[in-house]
């Protein structure tokens, strides 16, 4: 087995655009769950809507900024539709409604009646919406090598998308950092603990929950754009399993922390790549074929999520003391 190649591949996952997209999606979910206690089980729906919004607007000839705005607007509308009926109810209702709504987005997106718009189940090809983003790059075309990593500068899975992706992640972190230290963040934290108490102190709990849902959803939609830029918009790749990966990442890194989602995403994708490559190199074909190894990797994700919730609910960066206290 070629260990150098393996390590390069694993390290490559750490800076991959997909890792950045998932980190960003987890930051959005962190606003919902970590800061406010909202159980959003449909974060993938926000990503898919963002991806559709961006891709469809670009294909229709909109400039980059307008396409991004379209993605954000789609997420805002989606959050409002989800939130208006459910945020007045108990938390579990939001979980049920969001998981269903995300599935509705996916199923509507892949339905054949919308083939002209969404490309139905085959989705939208990357090359049909990548050009505005690639044209926005200030760098010359070509490839560039940094240590062991060599990628195209602008095309598809490029340095450009890595720079922008991680730049957006950094901005989102700054936003979370500012918000968590502000009185606004304090109200959200109070709602997470006991919303009736916060209501009795004169805060409009419903409005705060709505703001949280919209903000986290918008960040999810931007993550969706970053996710689809190096590939295609595939509705079936952005379903329930994506939501659960985002949850695993958030809980792995630590909910209600600033850097938890980033650390979680990097560890998640690097570990997954490591497992796959090591198993491909060591497990003979007769025992497990390479596509079975792929499946096995996902099984490990599921087990990790369960073990995390049971044994280390605060994740890697979370405050153990804070979680040791029973919320009620």
């Amino acid at each position: 087995m070629d260990w150098t190649n393996l390590l390069v591949n694993v390290a490559g996952e750490i800076i991959a655009p997909t890792t950045a997209a998932y980190a960003l999606a987890a930051i959005g979910l962190n606003i919902h769950f970590g800061l406010t206690g909202l159980l959003n089980m449909g974060q993938a729906g926000f990503l898919l809507l963002g991806a559709y919004g961006f891709a469809i607007a670009t294909i229709a000839g909109w400039p980059l900024w307008a396409a991004v705005l379209a993605a954000i607007l789609a997420a805002v509308v989606f959050a409002l539709i989800l939130g208006i009926p459910t945020l007045k109810l108990r938390g579990d209702y939001l979980a049920i409604v969001t998981i269903a709504a995300a599935e509705i987005v996916r199923i509507v997106g892949r339905s054949t009646t919308l083939t002209d718009l969404t490309g139905a189940s085959s989705g939208l090809r990357g090359n049909s919406y990548k050009h505005t983003f690639q044209d926005a790059s200030p760098f010359p075309d070509g490839t560039w090598e940094l240590g062991p990593f060599e990628y195209a500068i602008n095309a598809s899975n490029s340095w450009w998308i890595r720079i922008v992706g991680w730049g957006v992640v950094a901005l989102a972190c700054l936003l979370i950092w500012l918000l968590m230290r502000s009185p606004w963040g304090r109200v959200l934290k109070g709602i997470r603990e006991d919303e009736d108490a916060v209501r009795s102190l004169g805060k409009n709990v419903y409005a705060y929950k709505m703001q949280s849902l919209v903000l986290g959803g918008v960040i999810g939609a931007v993550a969706g754009i970053i996710y689809v830029l190096p590939r295609a918009v595939q509705p079936d790749a952005m379903g329930r399993s994506m939501t659960f990966f985002i949850w695993t990442i958030l809980l792995l890194g630590g909910a209600a922390t600033v850097f938890g989602p980033i650390l979680g995403s990097m560890l998640f994708w690097a570990a997954l790549m490591l497992i796959k490559l090591v198993m491909r190199g060591t497990v003979p074909e007769t025992v497990m074929r390479s596509e079975q190894i792929e499946q096995f990797g996902w099984i490990i994700v599921g087990i990790t999520l369960m073990l995390l919730v049971i044994f280390r609910p605060q994740g890697i960066l979370g405050d153990k003391k804070e979680l040791a206290i029973n919320a009620h």
Binding site: P183, E193, D196, S200, I325
Partner: protein, 303 residues
């Protein structure tokens, strides 16, 4: 002991349900709350005197907490109207009621466990511009107010003897300390009226006295206090006026010394043991408890 001014103001008020007060802060009319076929609250008329400590008592299931929830916007009545400082509160959500100056606490204490004591306190304050999502991003816009809030919070913590717990998680406090914290937090918004739902429930006897002192201090600072309570000692000790509820209605009103003798209270509240004064300390002794138990047993055997 009640201060003279509150007692004097209530001296001439007739001892009857729905009696008019000289200076009412809350006036409720025909407040009805039904749960399915059952009527939990049916209050025809009640007035609560400003600047006094009013106790709301009654047997279990009398509708005290439901009435409390209705007044504070945590529940919606089937019908009825009520005013607070002359303005109608009917249909107002709980948060708006609190902002108008009527702040409540809960029977099961709602300290925000995974927040520190000082953060709990800060959350209680009003008009913090940083609680707006966009202002929150620019700390200079809210830091000055935050300093004021923190100062006010620290003063209150000293008064409630919680200052050495300033940075502990609220979840690590004892039950009584949480009650104190909840009360102190409610005061952060400088309310005109404080509504306490069973402030003594689950409080260590050692803290009872200081809690009583704090409640009296609220009135001495000019606030109006309405509380629901089972503890008759507390009712006798600190209330200026007592309202008795039974089966959703108000059956009697009066000063704590005499209201217990009201026949309506005796009937509705005390049942078979109407000749014992619930405020009597002797009632708590083991002999009496045993004697009562024996009587109950005898009654059951008769059936």
């Amino acid at each position: 002991m009640p201060t003279d001014s509150a007692v004097r103001a209530l001296a001439d008020v007739p001892r009857e349900p729905g009696a008019a007060k000289p200076d009412p802060i809350v006036v409720a009319d025909d407040v009805v709350r039904r749960f399915g076929g059952m009527t939990a609250v049916d209050v025809q008329h009640v007035e609560i005197q400003r600047g006094a400590i009013t106790a709301l008592i009654g047997p279990n299931g009398a509708g005290k907490t439901t009435f409390f929830n209705l007044l504070t916007g945590f529940d919606k009545p089937s019908s009825g109207t009520w005013t607070f400082e002359g303005r109608s509160l009917h249909g107002l959500p709980a948060a708006r009621v609190a902002r108008k100056g009527m702040v409540r606490t809960f029977q099961l204490t709602k300290a925000l466990s995974r927040m520190t004591v000082i953060e709990n306190m800060r959350l209680g304050a009003g008009s913090q511009p940083g609680e707006n999502l966009f202002t929150a991003l620019v700390p200079p816009l809210w830091r000055a107010r935050e300093r004021e809030i923190t100062e006010q919070a620290e003063e209150l913590l000293v008064r409630f003897k919680l200052d050495h717990h300033r940075d502990s998680f609220a979840g690590s406090l004892s039950g009584g300390q949480r009650k104190l914290l909840e009360m102190a937090r409610a005061l952060m918004s400088k309310p005109t009226m404080v509504m306490l739902d069973e402030p003594m429930a689950g409080v260590n006897p050692a803290l009872t006295q200081s809690l009583l002192g704090h409640i009296q201090a609220l009135r001495d600072d000019g606030m109006t206090v309405l509380f629901v309570e089972h503890d008759m000692h507390m009712v006798r000790h600190i209330s200026d006026w007592v309202i008795v509820m039974a089966e959703g209605r108000i059956v009697a009103e009066g000063p704590p010394e005499t209201v217990m003798q009201d026949p309506a209270v005796v009937d509705a509240y005390l049942g078979a043991h109407h000749d014992t004064d619930l405020g009597d300390d002797a009632l708590l002794s083991d002999d009496v408890a045993e004697q009562l138990e024996a009587e109950v047993q005898a009654e059951e055997e008769k059936r």
